[in-house]
Amino acid sequence: MSGFLYIHADGTVIARSDVSGYESVQAILGQFAELSQQLDPIHVYRLHPLSLWQAAARGLTTDEVLRFLRRHAVHPLPLSLQLTIQKEMSKWGQLELVMGEDGAYMMLHGAAGLLEELSRSAPLTHWAMNSTQRGIRFRPEQRADVKRALARLGYPVLDRAGYHMSSPLDISARDSLRLRDYQQEAVAAFFADGSGQSGIIVLPCGAGKTVVGIAILAQLKRHALILTPGEEAAGQWKRELQRWTEIAEEAVSIYDPRRRPSPVTITTYQRVAARSKTGLHRNLETLTRHPWGLVIYDEVHVLPAPLFRLAAELQGVRRLGLTATLVREDGLAADVFSLIGPKLYEAQWKPLERDGYLAPVTCVEIDVPWHSQDYERYRVAGIRERHRVASENRAKVAVVCELVQRHSEAKILIFGHYVESLSMISHAVGCPLITGRTPKTQREDLYESFREGRVRVLALSRVANMAIDLPAATVAIQVSGLFGSRQEEAQRLGRLLRPAGGSGMFYTLVTEQSVEQEKARHRQMFLVEQGYRYEKVHAGNVSWLEGVSIGALDGVPE
């Protein structure tokens, strides 16, 4: 037996990453299983219905998957897993959604038995116009509802209902736009069918998702709506578009409800979801009426569930989801799959790090002892208050100062959840603080100064969490967080992964003997499972941090 994959009946595949031949196996395994954990020398993958549908969507067959697994498995394949693979993969292509001749209806095609079974299920019965031997008819506006309902019933559907007519766009990539290999592959995956298909591209934070989106737009040359998680990110898309493409200035704009949408319109999820005083989604209605040729969902994993409606109304438009992770805290990954499309391309960050596109990051958890007065407060605090008191432990201030001193030349971001303690820290360190109240212009000025190096240390409250571009930050210090959300962690780390030479450090300050410790453990699990190095030290030992090469952080290459 020469295999190195340990395959379990529940779909877990454990691989040894330190054997020769792993890289080539990884490339194929990743097409039908989701990498869920990488702790060298062990990588853990999961096969589940969604990942198997994705694989079938890419043209893999049951036989190929089974044969591949058998060739590399240490032990015989569990029967129940083989049956799952067969069952789920055969579902792809069984159902097809096509547009009726005059566009007045859509037709769901499939095997008669299956259609009959489906036509009896609750939501479909409700929407069906009529159902015949040839298929079930639906109204075109039900396109997304039908797809979502089917996905929830365990059936993926091939959407062949096509796209609306859309307006052409005069845009072309500048010569200066040079795509990296994996970015080119991502763009090619989107155009694999010739005219551009809907789906999701997964790239690690800092790997240049925006650039991939822009390259796709420049090749498609159609009106586009770009949805981002925040205003800063929207501004960044606009800057990047103008930087990398030849496009008329007035053709790109950030959405303004008082004006008509421009050929390329950028806006935020929040704005689209907003209601007027009378409860109407005016922005949503305006935006869905425009003949878009492409909708880009930036950070699609944070697409709020209420906005599924927007995604639903824009089914007649090509969809591109960009994200660093398919993990959703709300477990609605199947909905995203049905609304946006299958995963078209995924690059893991380890290989990108090896090729020098991303900087390696070390996570260090620092246990901070209590400030005696704060501990008194903590002891009498109610359960709900405890997290806050522990987060605001004043002993953290000194530790932050020490870290800032240690990394005397690095660009440092300090994150925190509670503004009061952040402002105390920013005073002690002597750095600017950006909170939700900081005016937008001032905020942008500060980002700009940070980018240019005039400001070396910047403290940020929660506002800075999403999709802003802070290049060359090599050290992050998290003084408090909500800990609960894994996305938040990934986002924060993403800030550091922008390659600026050297390696990154991510410090988290945790108050000893407090509720923070238990919460921090969850985050620790997630980070190590993503493959980050994780160290734990006591605040008393920060000055001689073991095993951490500080030199590398100050611009000295490793």
Partner: protein
């Protein structure tokens, strides 16, 4: 015994009968010449091509049984028994035809043997004849069950479960459903609890447990690894040490022997049936065509029809034993194929299957920074300690244990210490114990043991 030995042992009268029977032209007075003539002729393929059919035709099934039994010498009663109702004069004709010889070499009694060379060619002819109407294929179904050494692994898992749980037994001595469901869930091969129906005849607890688990349980009980003690609890016994020290192939063979001894009571010809499967070439074989070919050897058993005996008690159980892989084709027809392990277990002279490496003293653990522990080789001795301090998160082909505060608490309650546990991990881990894990354990040591001053125990011994 080889043919030459048989001929040397035979008396002149016996040899003369053979010579007469075939009309050989050698001297009928020289034993030497007759031996040479017979041994030479019996080796020629022309002779065998002509006379082998005469030996076997019309006697296929008794001969098959005889070939299986004849690895040891047989008494005349045994031989007459096998041919009962087929040929009442078999001893005379067999001796005259020269494929059966009598010997008194073993304990002076008169016993009968088929010379090894002749047994082999007869066997081949019988199997070829049998397979003529059996449908075979080089390509098998896409999906098939293959269990390898899973039965042995699952016994490890079950014994460990009993070690760490208070398993109460019903009045009748069976596990309560709650425990049974838990156990069936952690085993590598899934099985459901029983849902009524006739069940008897295939083992001591066959009535209480599903087929595969019943075999596993009965095996362990019979071997003395388990006791159903007087206070109504299931416990392991010191004899299980024997199981721990057995090699993988040895364990599977022990299971096979136990299965044969247990199931041959209801299925009278089980040894022949199993052996015939062992002699088939390693191609995919359509199960119902094989059933038809072997039908005369299969008996029904109360509530089991012949088909059920074949499908459920033989093919399915041999799959559990790792001997067959089985699957259905697109038309729902069952096919099976013998595995490497099966060839090794059923034919002692076959090429040995590659055994999973066993590495008891070596570094077989991988401790992960997320507090998981992976066990990369089969090491029952280590996993017993692991089960004390960590929870089994994933059984099956590669076991994964997870450490948590509560699992460590249990470890300490059962008499261990965190320092001892760390030492154990360090000793058996392929990679250094990650710093974050070590530090967190030390932290817990403070809170769980109040300073870690507990008595050290030695682990992993």
């Amino acid at each position: 015994m080889r043919l030459m030995e048989c001929l040397n042992d035979a008396d002149v009268l016996t040899l003369r009968k053979i010579v007469d029977h075939y009309g050989f032209s050698c001297s009928r007075h020289s034993k030497m010449e007759m031996i040479q003539e017979i041994s030479l002729t019996f080796r020629s393929s022309r002779f065998l091509g002509q006379y082998l059919p005469m030996w076997t035709d019309g006697r296929e099934f008794p001969l098959l049984r005889l070939c299986v039994s004849a690895v040891r010498p047989l008494t005349d009663e045994e031989i007459d028994g096998v041919f009962y109702g087929v040929d009442s004069n078999i001893l005379d004709s067999a001796l005259r035809e020269g494929w059966l010889f009598s010997t008194t070499r073993i304990d002076g009694r008169r016993l009968y043997v088929i010379p090894d060379e002749l047994r082999r060619v007869m066997q081949e002819r019988l199997i070829t004849g049998l397979l003529q109407c059996v449908q075979q294929s080089a390509e098998g179904p896409a999906v098939f069950a293959e269990e390898g050494y899973a039965l042995s692994h699952d016994l490890d898992v079950f014994l460990e479960y009993v070690d760490h749980h208070d398993v109460l037994l019903t009045q009748g001595g069976a596990m309560y459903k709650r425990h049974l469901v838990q156990v069936l869930q952690i085993l590598e091969v899934e099985e459901d609890v029983l849902s009524g129906g006739w069940r008897f005849g295939y083992g001591r607890r066959f009535h209480d447990y599903p087929d595969r688990f019943a075999l596993l349980y009965d095996f362990a009980y019979h071997a003395g690894y388990l006791e159903e003690s007087a206070d109504g609890r299931l416990r392991t016994r010191p004899a299980r040490e024997e199981w721990i020290s057995m090699k993988p192939a040895q364990r599977q063979r022990a299971f096979l022997r136990f299965y044969l001894s247990l199931y041959r009571r209801p299925i009278l010809r089980l040894p022949v049936l199993t052996q015939v499967i062992g002699w088939t070439p390693p191609r995919w074989i359509r199960s119902d065509s094989m059933f038809q070919a072997l039908e005369p050897l299969i008996n029904e058993y109360y509530y089991d029809t012949k088909e059920q005996v074949w499908n459920t008690r033989i093919v399915k159980m041999l799959t559990h034993l790792g001997i067959l892989r089985t699957g259905e084709d697109d038309l729902g027809r069952q096919w099976f194929q013998i595995t490497k392990l099966g060839q090794e277990l059923l034919t002692p002279d076959a090429i040995p299957a590659v055994e999973p490496q066993e590495n008891d003293g070596g570094r077989v653990l991988i401790v992960q920074p997320n507090f998981d522990i992976l066990v990369t080789a089969e090491t029952p001795r280590l996993t017993a300690v692991l089960a004390q301090f960590a929870d089994l998160k994933q059984s099956g082909t590669l076991r994964v244990y997870g450490m948590s505060k509560s699992s460590l608490e249990r470890g300490i309650r059962e008499g261990g210490t965190i320092s001892g546990w760390l030492e154990f991990l360090t000793k058996y881990s392929q990679t250094p114990v990650p710093g974050n894990v070590e530090r967190t354990l030390r932290e817990w040591e403070q809170s769980l043991q109040g300073g870690g001053s507990g008595e050290e125990i030695s682990m992993g011994s």
